[in-house]
Symmetry: C2
């Protein structure tokens, strides 16, 4: 019973990740009732501007507005270490720790034969290319601890065997601040397997 | 550490209702990674198009792309009943029941002296104007069961006293499908007060 234009607007917001029908409706009404025309037009042009100017870094494949990206071109980063992640969001998460000073490589996905995603569908070749240029001593596999993330880590580590490079995997275990009794079985197993001398 | 354009995009999404920083980041990356340029441009123009063409119905004040809106101009609706609500979302909620066949009046807010919202800040005068033209036999106050919603209902019902019109308030009580033991005190009191003969 909404006007067609409102329905169409709700539909657009509904397609965004994490937004259900109710939230999309709320956002649409907010846009129509509470935002000025200038604000809406500003938002629309920000979307178009970002889409136009943001592309993949030719080195690490992360989203960037420069090429190479700020991290790849920074003189303060340790270029001998590459941390391999599935998505740009993972780069943000690690950057937010302020504890990692190496470079990244964004795969833009993980191997998933069931979904038809093979080695050529993610940025694996681009990673191999970086290693052939040399200067890299360690590759940290920081793909997600899921079936496809782990399979991707194993697959890439095998491809890297011919190179003179150490391949490591981020630790899995009980998250800090959480309770042991609420940890799932696999996490507990990983936590026990990965135990370290105190 | 995001590119400036990405930061700006995240910021825009973050301003929408119900979207926190994490969700905004997720939506921004989705837009940059998973949406085509055409899809983004289509979404931007839908936003601008809706903002341009949607306005308040001159009769009921609901959002509409025609004037009067489809409900006000429908020959199938009972024009002798007006249901007064706070927002266009409330109209959708009631329309979705398929049980109400009268007209609406959208106040676009509720009286809230603490927030500086007085009678002239919401569409009360527009409601009075509708009643002066006659033909209305009942006004259903369906503002929210909050302090300001109830105050608004009481205020309007007093203003309507001079008119030859029945003013009613929607029932408050235990929601269908919920459990009595989880109902809050006020809801229980309202449910008892509003008890009806079986």
């Amino acid at each position: 019973m909404h006007a067609a234009q409102i329905e169409k607007l709700i539909e657009k917001f509904e397609r965004l990740p994490g937004i259900g029908h109710k939230s999309a409706e709320r956002i649409a009404f907010y846009l129509l009732e509470n935002m000025t025309k200038d604000e809406v037009s500003d938002m629309a042009s920000t979307m178009l501007g970002a889409k136009d100017s943001i592309h993949f870094c030719s080195v690490c494949q992360n989203l960037t507005d420069t090429d190479p990206c700020k991290i790849c071109s920074s003189h303060k980063r340790d270029k001998s270490v590459i941390c391999v992640v599935e998505s740009p969001e993972d780069v943000s998460a690690i950057e937010n720790t302020n504890e990692y000073n190496g470079l990244y490589h964004v795969l833009h996905g993980a191997l998933s034969p069931m979904d038809g995603i093979g080695p050529d569908d993610i940025k694996i070749n681009e990673l191999l290319l970086r290693l052939t240029s040399g200067g890299v001593s360690e590759v940290i596999m920081a793909t997600n601890p899921t079936v496809s993330g782990t399979a991707t880590a194993v697959y890439i580590s095998k491809l890297l065997a011919p190179f003179d490079v150490k391949v490591t995997r981020i630790a899995h275990g009980i998250p800090i601040g959480s309770d042991l009794e609420y940890a799932d079985k696999m996490t507990l197993i990983k936590a026990l397997e990965g135990r370290q001398t105190m």
